[in-house]
């Protein structure tokens, strides 16, 4: 737990989400990297219609911190990163981390568009093709370049240590590697980054023991 300096009490963290990685996994990776205990609540679909009514925006993930509910996956991951010292050291570094997370979020949303929202099978395939032929390569080549601007690209995305940008990146990587296992072959620094995050102390153990879900 984390000691609040003023009140010398451990904060209680509860993360509410479904039983999959989805938009809760970056926060879970960050808790794991810090060895910070939390309740990893996984809601069953039958519970959902009633469950959502008590959530601020009727959506998950929600992070409850000593009873205060924070929703929105990116806001949650940023908060966990802040509490565990993985948000970036200076204001400017934090902004750089934020911008990379936003870039990853954009791409994940575009992928989600065809996976979840496109019902027509033909259009789904068209969008998937456009995603893998245009959207994703553009994004990955920007990111390979951005990674290389940070100490030659042999560390993490921003600054000297792991930040929530790396956590989000691993989640995206896990997803796209399922479709194309060789997706990173044109991007050697990004490929090495994925391995670096996977073997990060705490994350490594979590990856070995986390529930196996399709997404």
């Amino acid at each position: 737990g984390v000691h609040c300096g003023a009140c010398r009490k451990m904060s209680v963290y509860e993360l509410h989400y479904f039983n999959n990685r989805g938009r809760a996994e970056p926060a879970r990776l960050l808790f794991a990297a810090a060895g910070l205990p939390y309740r990893d609540i996984r809601i069953q679909s039958e519970q959902w219609p009633e469950y959502k009514l008590k959530l601020p925006m009727h959506q998950v993930p929600v992070l409850e911190v000593d009873g205060t509910m924070i929703c929105q996956s990116v806001a949650i991951a940023r908060y966990v990163a802040k509490v565990t010292g993985h948000a970036g050291k200076t204001d400017l570094e934090q902004a750089k981390v934020d911008m990379l997370v936003d870039g990853i979020d954009d791409v994940m949303t575009k992928k989600g568009d065809y996976v979840w929202h496109e019902k027509d099978e033909t259009r789904k395939m068209e969008k998937k093709t456009a995603f893998y032929e245009t959207t994703l390569p553009q994004f990955l080549s920007h990111f390979e370049k951005l990674l290389r601007t940070n100490n030659g690209g042999d560390g993490f995305l921003v600054g000297e240590g792991l930040t929530h940008a790396d956590a989000w990146f691993l989640c995206l990587a896990d997803d796209i590697l399922l479709d194309f296992p060789d997706i990173f072959s044109p991007y050697p620094k990004l490929a090495a980054l994925v391995e670096r995050i996977r073997t990060y102390p705490g994350i490594k153990e979590w990856l070995a023991k986390r529930p196996q879900t399709p997404f």
Binding site: I70, I76, Y79, D91, L92, K96, G103
Partner: protein, 206 residues
Amino acid sequence: MAPKYKLTYFNLRARAETARLLFAAAGVEYEDFRVEFGGGPPSEQWKELKPKTPMGQLPLLEVDGVTLCQSMSIARFVARETGLDGKTSLEKAQADMIVDAVEETLNKIYATMFGTDESKAQAKKVLETAVPEFLKNMEKLAGPDGHFVGDSLTWADVRFFDLASEMMAKHADLLENFPNLTKVVDTVKANSGVAKWIAKRPETPF
């Protein structure tokens, strides 16, 4: 001496206006650089600039030799620099979640404006339920004193004001049944920096 901050965006409000409103609210000087917006095919100016940007997009904020992109990361940074991002880590997270919710809704609105006829029609249907739901949730989170977070102005209020004022230009009665949200909008509007900016900012289509 040149201002510390250079904000680059098209000659539009859209995705840069929150940052501009924050600078205005805090009375902080910045260079408000506007790239020609063709309205159709990209302008020559944008074609030249685009490959030099981190992710091929605008807005950008240049500060201390660093170029930031992503509109909300920029706005959050400006909010932090101007003391408008919330007082504690938890308050900052609460401000973040409000801003994220606004962004979600804004993207749904953009989906009705850009795309194929079919995707736009589908997006319009989504918006019909999404907006009332969004306003209902936000009304609960706003509280009666005109602020989303804590007891003073944060960028969450400014961001919401930005979206709401755009929507109210077409639907004046948008917040008629939402007194808390109306209070937030009025509080931001009454900020002298914001009021001055709105009176003098360039007229643009959106």
